[in-house]
């Protein structure tokens, strides 16, 4: 006779430093049902919009998530630029692409490390974080900080890259590519990794669509949806195809992310080679007019959504952020039932959860 019980996962768990709480209803070693609970790190950042003016808010939204901070700033600035009818200089758009793609690479490498850690592959964790360090150096040299780089302002970017820096970036990015080639084999052609990921947590294409999965979770299930294809910033002038895998299991989600690292490297090369000259920002006068705007950007974890309502003053009336992890939690709840208890951390890590993002 099988035994039923409830096992809590989190909010403190060794593999996931962030506080998500899942109540797992288990029958022997098998998960039958899952009840999620979030709300442990709610910081009320959306409400700060009433206290900080629109320019100060850039630095607040960047702190919604450390790992995709640049893209939060970019989404926010793009929203206000659209509302105020600003046309930002082409060079600023290309610089935004370079920083955004550097962020995507470091985010995926960070995920790869944590993912490897979730099934006890410590060596891979160290290797991928070692490579990530080169990206952090690139961010620090070009933007001034390692993680929260604060480069976006309404109307453009704050820092420029001169030719020697751009050349150095190309050089470093080739180094990263070389380092990655060894790492790729360790993930994709590895018996242990495959044993733990292939066929686990399968999310079919229909389910992914129905549950509104975004980012690599959706693309791993065969949905070719990448918001960069809408051509915001300078993506319209760059050549790329969304990375899609069909299987919908943990392994194909990993493959999507690893292929996306290569895609980002390629996008950075394209952006550097097509970099136009000129100004990096335009002057902004006055407050934004009364209005509403929606802005979406493809972050490393998927689609981030900003809704902004202005009141004609220097403060926003409402700021609403929906982050990719929030959109992917329903998909996670679909994947978990039926899996083994030991696979739960692996499945949770495969949506690349960012809980502080989700709760803001």
């Amino acid at each position: 006779m099988s035994k039923t019980g409830i096992i809590p996962f989190g909010p403190q768990h060794p593999v996931l430093p962030e506080p998500i709480h899942l109540k797992l209803v288990v029958e022997d070693e098998r998960v039958m049902e899952v009840y999620p609970a979030i709300g442990f790190v709610h910081r009320g950042l959306e409400m700060l919009a009433a206290k900080k003016d629109i320019n100060q808010m850039i630095y607040v939204v960047e702190r919604i998530c450390g790992i995709c901070s640049m893209m939060h700033g970019m989404t926010y600035c793009q929203a206000l630029e659209e509302l105020m009818g600003l046309d930002i200089p082409p060079r600023a758009k290309f610089l935004r692409v370079i920083w955004a793609e550097l962020h995507r690479i470091h985010s995926h490498l960070l995920w790869l490390g944590l993912f490897a850690d979730s099934f006890g592959f410590e060596n891979l964790f160290m290797q991928s974080w070692k490579i990530r360090e080169r990206i952090m150096d690139m961010l620090e040299r070009t933007a001034g900080n390692r993680v929260i780089i604060s480069v976006n302002i309404i109307g453009g970017v704050r820092r420029d890259m001169d030719d020697s820096t751009l050349r150095w970036i190309l050089q470093e990015i080739s180094g990263v590519e070389k380092d990655l080639s060894g790492l790729k084999d360790m993930v994709l052609n590895n018996y242990t990794v495959k044993k733990r990921t292939v066929g686990k947590g399968v999310l079919s294409k229909d389910e992914a669509l129905r549950l509104g999965a975004v980012g690599p979770v959706a693309r791993g299930s065969g949905i070719a949806r990448d918001l960069r294809a809408t051509g915001y910033a300078a993506y319209g002038e760059l050549d790329f195809e969304p990375v899609v895998e069909k299987e919908g299991d943990c392994f194909s989600r990993s493959v999507v992310r690893i292929r996306e690292i290569y895609q980002s490297i390629d996008l950075i090369r394209q952006a550097v080679s097509k970099m136009p000259s000129g100004e990096i920002s335009v002057k902004v006068k006055g407050n934004p007019p009364v209005g509403e705007v929606i802005s979406v950007v493809e972050q490393s974890r998927g689609e981030v959504f900003y809704y902004i309502k202005t009141s004609g003053t220097q403060y926003l009336e409402r700021l609403r952020v929906r982050t990719p992890t929030f959109a992917n939690i329903p998909a996670l709840l679909k994947m978990l039932p039926g899996c083994e208890l030991a696979d739960v951390p692996v499945l949770i890590l495969t949506i690349d959860p960012c809980i502080s993002c989700t709760e803001r």
């Binding site: 808010m57 290797q127 070692k130 040299r141 929260i148 704050r158 360790m186």
Partner: protein
């Protein structure tokens, strides 16, 4: 599997990637936003930095001719530096030193006419 063995062998032959801190220190990049400094010789206490700072960590007290700043609340965004009309603020590239207790940085402008700056006053917050 072969990939793993190759990686193990390669890594055995390589030097460690970590540094023997604190003996070997990492160099800062030129543009790094490490910590904020204010040159009181130039500051005119206009208060712009206080107004633009997103974390509200600067206080400009014109009556007492004092510029105060809480380094532990500063998020090193550099907005104040960009907006300072007198270019008296600067972000140094060295990271802020760790401290065992919190303090505020208070800089006095002794006499406005002579524009002399007094030394750094640190007091517990």
């Amino acid at each position: 599997m072969l990939g793993n063995i190759k990686s193990v062998l390669l890594n055995l032959a390589k030097k460690p990637v970590t540094r023997m801190y604190p003996d070997v220190k990492r160099n800062y990049f030129e543009n790094t936003r490490g910590h904020l400094i204010n040159d009181m010789e130039k500051c005119v206490l206009c208060g712009i930095c206080q107004r633009v700072c997103p974390s509200n960590c600067i206080k400009v007290n014109r009556d007492e001719a004092r510029w105060e700043y809480n380094p532990f609340e500063c998020v090193l965004c550099g907005v104040c530096v960009e907006r300072c009309v007198k270019k008296s603020l600067k972000l140094d590239s060295a990271y802020r030193q760790p401290a065992s207790s919190k303090y505020r940085v208070e800089l006095l402008m002794e006499s406005r006419e002579e524009g002399k700056a007094a030394g750094k006053v640190k007091s517990l917050a």
